[in-house]
């Protein structure tokens, strides 16, 4: 199996989906001859033509709205928003149309679209290029929000997202676009959505994260193991709807939970998970649920951004504290 980066796996999945299904259309800014600013769509236009790999005008609301119209005609549009900071004009379309057209029309019209965008900080990009506002999206009923954390999951989950009959926002962790490498088999097999992946089993504490932050979370699990603490690491992967059973099962086993995300704390998705555990697993808890998150501030520009994001040290400290609690 060839070794590749996460962004190459995205490209591979797009090519595979377009090859398999003539209804798949890729659209966005610079996705054509330029192959996308992160090169995720490289080579697709040469292979599938400019009608199926469409360079749109510079208009994000349009990209998302076009997807809704195409999808209602049973095309499978895969729109690209260059950076998550430019996704906000799409929120109207996602909230008011994409996510609810099936429900509004009682199934008469549906919206099998995917909107892809890079997610998160850590690439020393200009302002507005480092957003991680996934909680905002995960709040929207009728939507799916998916974040892969490795090349093989990027491949399998993107294929699943494209084949899914409902709208999916697919957040690609920018920081590990190239840093994450792994073997990917181009077998056309999708991975399941709505399912969390247990990356590492452990008895003592559950670490839950998604996207690029799993890198630090896995490193923290290594450091904890050196201390004799066996951490279970869960890649949530789909945030909406999320795999409550795997979360609850793991916490029932370990009695301790640390949730790690790069997004700001207040109203972040970690709060949702903590609430679930409080409601449904309180009696198995041996320590308070902890959150290691970005601070409640604007994501700083390059010089300070690493201080906002959870570090291995912060995760280890939180996990140790949980393990030492009473």
């Amino acid at each position: 199996m060839p070794e590749m980066t996460l962004v190459e796996a995205v490209n591979l999945a797009l090519a595979r989906a377009m090859e398999d299904d003539p209804d798949v259309v890729v659209l966005g800014e610079d996705v054509g001859i330029n192959g996308g600013v992160f090169r995720a769509t490289v080579g697709l236009q040469a292979r599938f033509g400019p009608e199926r790999v469409l360079d749109t005008p510079l208009a994000e609301l349009l990209i998302s709205g076009l997807c809704v119209g195409m999808a209602a005609q049973r095309l499978k549009p895969v729109g690209e928003i260059q950076f998550m900071g430019f996704l906000y004009p799409c929120i109207d379309q996602l909230v008011n149309h994409a996510s609810r057209i099936r429900n509004r029309t009682q199934g008469r019209l549906t919206c099998p679209m995917v909107l892809r965008t890079p997610h998160g900080a850590g690439i020393r990009a200009p302002e507005h290029h480092s957003e991680s506002t996934e909680a905002m999206l995960a709040h929207i009923p009728g939507l799916r929000v998916v974040i892969p954390s490795s090349p093989d999951r990027a491949y399998g989950l993107l294929l699943a997202a494209i084949r899914d009959p409902d709208p999916v926002v697919f957040l690609e962790p920018t920081r590990i676009y190239r840093a994450a490498k792994g073997e990917v088999e181009d077998n056309g097999e999708a991975l399941p959505l709505d399912v969390a992946f247990v990356l590492r089993e452990g008895r003592d504490v559950t670490l839950i994260s998604w996207g690029a932050m799993l890198k630090e979370t896995m490193a923290a699990a290594d450091a904890l193991a050196a201390d004799g603490i066996a951490a279970e690491v869960i890649d949530l992967a789909t945030l909406k709807p999320y795999d409550e059973a795997t979360v609850l099962g793991s916490v029932a086993k370990t009695g301790r939970c640390v949730i790690v995300h790069e997004a700001t704390r207040t109203g972040g998705f970690g709060a949702e998970i903590a609430a679930l555990i409080a409601e449904r697993a309180l009696t198995s808890l041996l320590a308070p649920v902890a959150r290691v998150t970005g601070y409640d501030t604007v994501i700083p520009m390059a010089r300070l951004e690493q201080h906002m994001m959870p570090s291995v040290g912060r995760i280890v400290t939180a996990a140790r504290k949980a393990c030492q609690f009473s």
Partner: protein
């Protein structure tokens, strides 16, 4: 002039189309279809049905049996004529005020009542299954129309997307973004802006600095035409031309239908707060139904007897629809989860069971 005689590199023009004067007399030779008494009377009947339906809907709202409702009073010619120029396989993307178009396309009156009565089943449309439902967030349907048209183009289908919105909507980026894209790709889409002079309380002069809305098409690279939107003959002719051009691959068109909203914005609005009764009274002289009737009667295409029969038919049709609307089985609360996803994820299925009182919290 400070331009120092610089050359003019582009000229644009915006045309205005009108055939029937407010008194029903003819301003210029009518288009060929106007000799078809069957078509003209069908348009007349549809406008009358809409006016009757509106009156009943308002009465239902006033008596607590319908939610907020947006009437078409005074602007019936627009949506009826546009829909009449479409083919069944075309796709309509209406705003919330385009009842006339939906009814023409075969959506049942009771479905429209269900929608305004707060029931999603109204959007199920037993009629044109690919048409979009009423769009409430103003102008946000325009990009959908471009997407629908893109699908037609990609699949080489001779179909047209027809997108309707109000004058207020033309202030939104959504509409311009969609028009701009449609212009780039010569998309089979027709945009119809119903300029009824008001966006709730905001008059057109505070909505735009443009002389016409039609000229907004120029910036997107295609033809925009201003049409007397209270003249159903002009509207039908303009819609027919635009839809035919789009179908033949000539690209998008924009129609500004200049008309007047004689009623309140919705049943929740009181238009007397922002415009005078005199203004409205004056505009009643231009309204589309009397105008067409005067023409039809003058041409001996319509008689008093037919008028009476039509009134009875409208009454009967509307009353029967109201009965079916009021008799609709209530939905069980947990059905709000139906059609949320193709297959309801288990975590929400549990919430559905909770709502259904099947334990499970």
């Amino acid at each position: 002039m400070p331009d120092g005689g610089l050359p003019v590199i582009a000229h644009f023009e915006v045309r205005h189309r009108n055939y029937l004067a407010p008194d029903g007399s003819i301003n210029r030779p009518l288009p060929p279809f106007a000799s078809d008494a069957g078509l003209l009377t069908a348009l007349y009947r549809a406008m009358m049905l809409l006016r009757n339906f509106d009156r009943k809907a308002v009465a239902l709202q006033r008596t607590g049996r319908l939610g907020t409702y947006a009437v078409s009073l005074g602007q019936e010619a627009v949506s009826v004529s546009v829909a009449s120029a479409m083919r069944e396989e075309d796709v309509l993307l209406p705003s919330y005020r385009d009842n006339g178009a939906l009814i023409w396309r075969g959506v049942k009156l009771e479905e429209i009542l269900l929608f305004w009565g707060g029931d999603e089943r109204g959007n199920h449309f037993s009629g044109p299954v690919q048409d979009f439902p009423f769009c409430v967030p103003v102008g946000s349907q325009a990009p959908h129309a471009a997407g629908v048209a893109y699908a037609f183009k990609l699949r080489k289908q001779p179909r047209v997307a027809v997108c309707m919105f109000g004058d207020g909507a033309t202030s939104k980026g959504d509409v311009y973004e969609a028009m701009n894209f449609a212009g780039v790709h010569k998309m089979p889409v027709v945009f119809v802006a119903t300029n009824n002079q008001w966006a709730i309380s905001v008059p057109l002069r505070l909505q735009t600095g443009c002389e016409t809305l039609a000229q907004k098409a120029i910036a997107a690279g295609f033809i925009g035409e201003q049409v007397d939107g209270s003249d159903v003959v002009a509207m039908r002719a303009a819609a027919e031309d635009a839809i035919a051009a789009a179908r033949e691959g000539q690209g998008p068109r924009f129609i500004e239908a200049v008309t007047y909203r004689l009623g309140d914005h919705t049943t929740s609005d009181d238009a007397l707060r922002y415009r005078s009764a005199d203004e409205v009274q004056a505009r009643w002289k231009e309204e589309p139904i009397t105008r067409l009737r005067s023409y039809l009667v003058g041409q001996k295409m319509w008689s008093k007897a037919e008028e009476e029969q039509l009134a009875a038919e409208c009454h009967e049709r509307v009353e029967a629809a109201v009965e079916r609307y009021l008799a609709a089985e209530p939905r069980r609360p947990e059905t709000m989860f139906d059609h949320l996803y193709a297959e309801l994820p288990e975590v929400y299925a549990a919430q559905r069971r909770e709502l259904a009182g099947e334990g499970d919290a």
